[in-house]
Amino acid sequence: MNAKRKDLLATIIIDVIVATVVGILVFLLAYILISGLPHVSWSFLTGSADSFSGAGGIGVQLFNSFYLLILTMLISIPISLGAGIYLAEYAKDNWRTRLIRSAIEVLSSLPSVVVGLFGFLLFVVKFKIGFSVISGAIALTFFNLPLLTRNIEESLSAVSRSQREAGLSLGLSKWKTEIGIILPVALPGIVTGVVLSAGRVFGEAAALIYTAGQSAPVTNFADWNPMDAASPLNPLRPAETLAVHIWKVNTEGLASNAAQLSAAASAVLIIAVLLFNLFARVLGNYLYRRVTASK
């Protein structure tokens, strides 16, 4: 076989593999959307579910998912940004840094159920916070931190050394170089990573069942004072998310149309995650153009 034919064969094999992967993905998406979307309506999106049977809308769950996501990101972005900058820029290559890196790796491979149970025992039971948005957010932070830290470290390290030297040679401090010159270049990559991890957090169920809880008390959407018990913003109230709701409706839902409910909720979840991905791209590109002043 000559080189040209080998090349052709290899290309065909790769094409087939890619087509298979894309095919499976498209099939899954189409299946979920086709079986779910017909049952999605405005009242389904905004209505509240019957806490016992699970029948009804997913308005509260949808809100909970977003709220939990935002809280999680508020906690995990600053921490992982600090950790990522430290690892990329300041950490010396010694046993301590290697230990930190292995710890991060271990943390990132923890099954989310374990993270959930840990959160349950520590925050819900030991600290007596109870099933709450905040317990869920902290548990999700554990699960989110390693990936975000990794992503930030890698995005920063990918920026050329010569950029750092340029900054330092102008008398800028290391910190100023990192924040003002390296970070903007790395930002699109970081933002993409953040939004992708947001998609993961949004779809996470196992870690939340034991931390944010499985009940969605009806909240008063006219009350935005986070201190009030009935306020949707109260971080101490239990908050069943969309993903947990899907799991619950499927396992113990008593509603007659449980299958349709979960299909519809799944479709909504998938659409939300797809939107996150799209948003990640758009925002990443936009930021890159903004900070680099290119066009």
């Binding site: 330092l168 102008l170 010159i181």
Partner: protein
């Protein structure tokens, strides 16, 4: 194969007291771990002149140059003295950020920031506390004119610096350095990534800049050294072998290794 030249015989010029010096090193040694990359460099750089550092690849030119503004701090051990305005700046308690504002550097590969042309120049200025828009704009114009880039970019100051050609980027890097109003400008093979026309532009820029700054330039190109420098130092395997006025160095080198290098029969 390299011939075995003795390192005992060197010819390094010194200057009389009445010659104003911008920078001077005394017994400068650089070690990368166990690799002793620079031995006893004793060089003095007269003010407002261009000094060229020449020598084969790996002879330690960059190593020496980067030590002068303490850019080697994190990667090498540098001992010996670096005199600048009567102060030894190779001391642990010296403010290296301050030093680097006085001793600017331009690198081999153009490395503009991924920012607009204007931001490239004013970012570091702002960090020094200059906030006045008028002053900043003035500096942008002055430095771009100084680097002979103004006419080409004056209408696109807010466009990305990455869209410039390699030669323009390098002149922007020079502009960025001189915007800090340094005393000394260190350049490490600034033209090696450039085409001949851009090279001529950069050289003209440097010749103009020596009126205000002291320039130390590493170059592989001996014609370039001859064209622009007044003094010339020849490096060989981590030793400064000869240091003399450029014309003398090229016409009547004092030692064999320099002779072989400048005549091209090296090695």
């Amino acid at each position: 194969m390299l011939k075995d030249y003795s390192f005992d015989q060197t010819a390094v010029q010194t200057f009389d007291d009445h010659v104003a010096l911008a920078l001077k090193t005394e017994d400068l040694q650089v070690y990368y771990g166990n690799n002793h990359a620079m031995h006893d460099a004793n060089l003095a750089f007269p003010k407002n002149q261009i000094t060229a550092l020449i020598g084969a690849s790996g002879s330690g030119k960059s190593t020496y140059l980067r030590s002068l503004n303490r850019m080697n701090d994190t990667i090498a051990t540098v001992t010996g003295k670096i005199w600048y305005h009567g102060v030894d700046i190779n001391q642990p308690d010296v403010n290296i950020y301050e030093i680097r504002r006085h001793i600017g550097m331009v690198f081999q590969r153009p490395n503009p920031f991924a920012k607009s042309i204007r931001e490239n120049i004013i970012y570091a200025l702002r960090a020094t506390g200059i906030k006045d828009k008028k002053v900043l704009n003035q500096r942008v114009e002055q430095s771009l004119k100084g680097a002979a880039l103004w006419d080409e970019v004056k209408d696109t100051l807010d466009k990305s610096a990455l869209a410039l050609s390699g030669g323009q980027q390098q002149r922007l890097c020079i502009a960025r350095s001189i915007a800090m109003e340094p005393d000394v400008l260190l350049l490490d093979e600034p033209c090696s990534a450039l085409d001949p026309i851009s090279t001529v532009k950069v050289e003209e820029t440097l010749l103009e800049l020596q009126k205000k700054y002291t320039i130390i330039i590493v170059t592989h190109n001996m014609q370039q050294a001859a064209r622009i420098s007044s003094q010339c130092a020849f490096f060989h395997l981590g030793h400064v072998m000869e240091y003399a006025p450029t014309a003398t160095m090229f016409s009547t080198p004092k030692i064999q290794v320099t002779q072989d290098y400048v005549s091209g029969s090296f090695g």
